[in-house]
Assembly symmetry: C2
Homo-oligomer: 122 residues x 2
């Protein structure tokens, strides 16, 4: 787990990766596995949160719209306003899956689930 400098609005993708994700109750939900970037618009699309599994085996991934993540200096990680139960129904994929990045129908379902505005505008 990395500890980010909370004052830096501009942070490196390599530091975001590995940061823990908690919910507002303080439960550890997972950690950031990667960050998805939209080349054309220049926008950060998703943080990919890994959860479950052990040493990478059986891990699953939730694509979290970037706007859902708030950095919490006290926790030293990101906080999302989701219970474990809410996450259980959230879009997920396995390492062997190829999510349909760039497919607006697929991506709209992600944003609808989290009730966030799509990063590509509407």
């Amino acid at each position: 787990m990395e500890t980010l400098d909370e004052n830096a609005g501009v942070i490196s993708a390599s530091k975001v990766t590995g940061t823990n994700v908690y919910n507002t109750e303080g439960d550890l939900l997972g950690e950031i596995h990667d960050v998805m970037l939209d080349k054309r618009s220049g926008r950060i699309a998703y943080a990919i949160m890994s959860f479950g599994g052990f040493l990478g085996i059986g891990e699953q991934y939730h694509p979290l719209p970037w706007a859902t993540l708030k950095y919490d200096t006290r926790q030293g990680g990101y906080v999302v306003g989701l219970t474990r139960e809410q996450l259980q129904g959230a879009p997920t994929f396995a390492l062997t899956d190829s999510p349909a990045w760039g497919d607006r129908a697929y991506e709209t379902r992600i944003h609808d689930y989290y009730k966030t505005a799509p990063y590509w505008g509407v």
Copy 2:
């Protein structure tokens, strides 16, 4: 060096990292070391291109505004419209430096050098 899927507008930061950067003459300039993200605006700020050095020792870094990079499928890497000579005068830092990310004066100098619009808008 990674080969990116040119059809995917949405790509992972971990795949961008390690991708070669060429100029329009086909000269290898360096490779992407990391990606800088602006947390607040949700925008991709810079690709950090490493160059020089050997096995990480003596390496230097150029922050390239994200908009300067075009992916070229033929080259299997990013192409920037800069000669080696133009890059020699470009903003650079060493691994031991702490660039003033988020400092608009510092960042404006980077964007001015590359004649790109600042990612934070004007």
